[in-house]
């Protein structure tokens, strides 16, 4: 790892100042992705601002809204009674990601900030517009088995690797951030970006802005939910595709549905059209299949990831069936 200076500010304001005023400074929380990237020379900060001692770890209900501090650990959150009771989909998604060791280190904010695992992004000898703007994309003409089928651009076909974020996108969460210009709230589905011609930007945070919390509004998705993750081995691998499915079923009718996918786009990918198609329908295998086919209409595959379109249809249908039969 290259040398860097280290500062552990005593306040949120000091932490924000430290990063806002220094282009080479980065926040560090769990460090599970950042240190990995630094060891590989993908990211080379000259200063790390350790935010672990800031009071941002709370998990609590504010009225009906679940407030999750940005420094809550992935393992704590997955096991927290408020999460398993009110938002079991989030718990399932968290437990599908990484290993228990990593979940014991990784924070909620850090999980959102993790970078793609595209091998061309990690390999500093290869072109990558995300790592080095305007250097080209190694994946488009290269080995692109793990890559995007939705929302990609000519600059980048990388995918966001998080499982947690897929559930938070499905559950209409909101991101709370603090920055040099004050506080603001960002709908979770607007937090991450599509690559367009600026794939170096993963999200819409401004310089010096820090995620302080995530909030999930009360919803009816407490029972009929399922997080399905399809990967190359049974555990501890990134998704080929994943599906977060949540249904509100009453008298054998789907009142509303929430669907999002991971491993298929530069951001957690909500399937709005499929959700609409399911509303008012019976929870049947055929209706689930139709919804899945609707979801894949806008898919665009590359040389090695064509299997992801068929796999996605099957995975959406399976996740919905599992959610409905709980």
């Amino acid at each position: 790892m290259n040398q860097f200076s280290y500062v552990r500010p005593a306040s949120l304001k000091a932490a924000i100042d430290a990063v806002a005023k220094d282009n080479t400074a980065r926040f560090i929380a769990g460090g599970t992705n950042l240190l990995d990237l630094m060891k590989s020379g993908v990211v080379i900060p000259e200063k790390l601002v350790d935010i672990n001692r800031l009071p941002l770890k709370d998990i609590q209900l504010n009225g009906n809204t679940l407030h999750i501090g940005a420094l809550a650990l992935n393992s704590e959150l997955a096991a927290h009674e408020l999460v398993t009771t009110h938002h079991p989909l989030l718990s399932q998604a968290l437990l599908a990601g990484a290993s228990q060791q990593l979940r014991n280190m990784a924070t909620v904010g850090g999980n959102m900030m993790q970078r793609t695992r595209c091998t061309y992004f990690y390999d500093t000898t290869m072109p990558c517009n995300k790592r080095s703007p305007n250097s080209g994309c190694g994946a488009i003409g290269g080995i692109n088995r793990m890559h995007a089928i939705f929302g990609s651009s000519e600059s980048c076909i990388a995918v966001h690797p998080s499982d947690m974020c897929v559930a938070l996108a499905a559950l209409d969460a909101t991101v709370l951030v603090s920055g040099p210009k004050g506080n603001r709230r960002i709908p979770f589905t607007d937090f991450h970006r599509l690559p367009g011609n600026t794939p170096q930007l993963d999200n819409n945070l401004a310089k010096g802005e820090l995620i302080t919390a995530v909030e999930i509004p009360a919803n009816a998705y407490t029972k009929n939910v399922y997080y399905l993750k399809v990967r190359d081995r049974a555990s501890y691998a990134f998704a080929l595709v994943s599906v977060a499915a949540a249904l509100d079923i009453s008298n054998n009718v789907i009142r509303s549905a929430r669907l999002a996918m991971g491993g298929v786009a530069h951001k957690p990918w909500r399937l709005y059209e499929a959700e609409k198609a399911l509303a008012g329908k019976a929870p049947t295998e055929e209706n689930f299949r139709d919804a899945a086919n609707i979801a894949l209409q806008s898919a665009k595959a590359y040389q090695h990831n064509r299997f992801k379109t068929g796999l996605s249809v099957n995975s959406i249908q399976t996740a919905l069936l599992k959610a409905a039969s709980v």
Binding site: M1, N2, Q3, F4, S5, Y6, V7, R8, P9, A10, A14, D17, A18, K21, D22, I28, G30, G31, T32, L35, D36, K39, S40, E46, K47, L48, D50, N52, R53, S75, A98, S99, Q100, Q101, L102, N104, M105, A234, S235, Y236
Partner: protein, 211 residues
């Protein structure tokens, strides 16, 4: 205690370390003055802790029940501190990228990958490594079970497997072979001793001993 014994057994090594440390301390102080931008100097007045580039900073922690004070550069991982500075080489460096689990230790009772955290971030933490698991000559029940069930072949992943297994049982994630496989998936064994590792963990869990 391991580090105490080690200092007694290797006095020369300690001197060498200290000589190097003194040299680095002097040179890093000069470098820090030369390189530290004014902002950092100013920030130091109200920040909780700070270390400049090349500058070592003091860190206090408790390792295997013993208070330890060290000085480290910011870029030193907990794994490298344990192995290189404290000679606690039971904790292994496998991939150094959080993919294999060989470096698993407990921090404040939680298992983590020591390769993916900085030593300077451990101020005030309680750390347990494989060296701190046995009670004197009496092996920990999970260590005994790994021997009994042949839970290893080459043994390189074993310290990490055992630290992870102890935490897995304490967390309540050892209820079935399936659950053990899922919650032990962060520890890779290239010899493929997984079956025997699962048997060892089930044996300890079912034996009802306190781990």
């Amino acid at each position: 205690m391991p580090q105490e014994n080690d200092q007694q057994n290797h006095p020369q090594k300690k001197e060498k370390h200290e000589a190097r440390r003194d040299f680095l301390k002097q040179s890093s102080a000069m470098m820090a003055l030369a390189l530290t931008p004014p902002l950092v100097m100013k920030a130091a007045q109200h920040d909780e802790a700070i270390a400049g580039i090349f500058e070592k900073m003091p860190v206090s922690m408790e390792i295997n029940g013993k208070k330890v004070q060290v000085t480290v550069e910011p870029r030193v991982t907990l794994l490298d501190l344990l192995r290189e500075q404290l000679d606690l080489t039971g904790t292994k460096k496998g991939c150094d990228h959080g993919q294999c689990g060989a470096c698993t230790v407990h921090v404040n009772g939680h298992r983590i990958n020591s390769c993916l955290t900085l030593a300077v971030m451990q101020e005030g933490k309680k750390i347990t490594t494989i060296e701190g698991l046995a009670n004197g000559e009496q092996l920990h029940p999970v260590q005994e079970a790994f021997i009994k069930h042949d839970g290893f072949q080459c043994g390189y992943c074993t310290p990490g497997q055992i630290m992870s297994a102890v935490a897995c049982i304490r967390e309540g994630h050892a209820g079935s072979p399936e659950e053990i496989r899922e919650f032990m998936s962060g520890n890779i064994c290239r010899c493929g001793a997984y079956d025997n590792i699962v048997h060892a963990i089930m044996d300890v869990k079912q034996g009802g001993k306190t781990v």
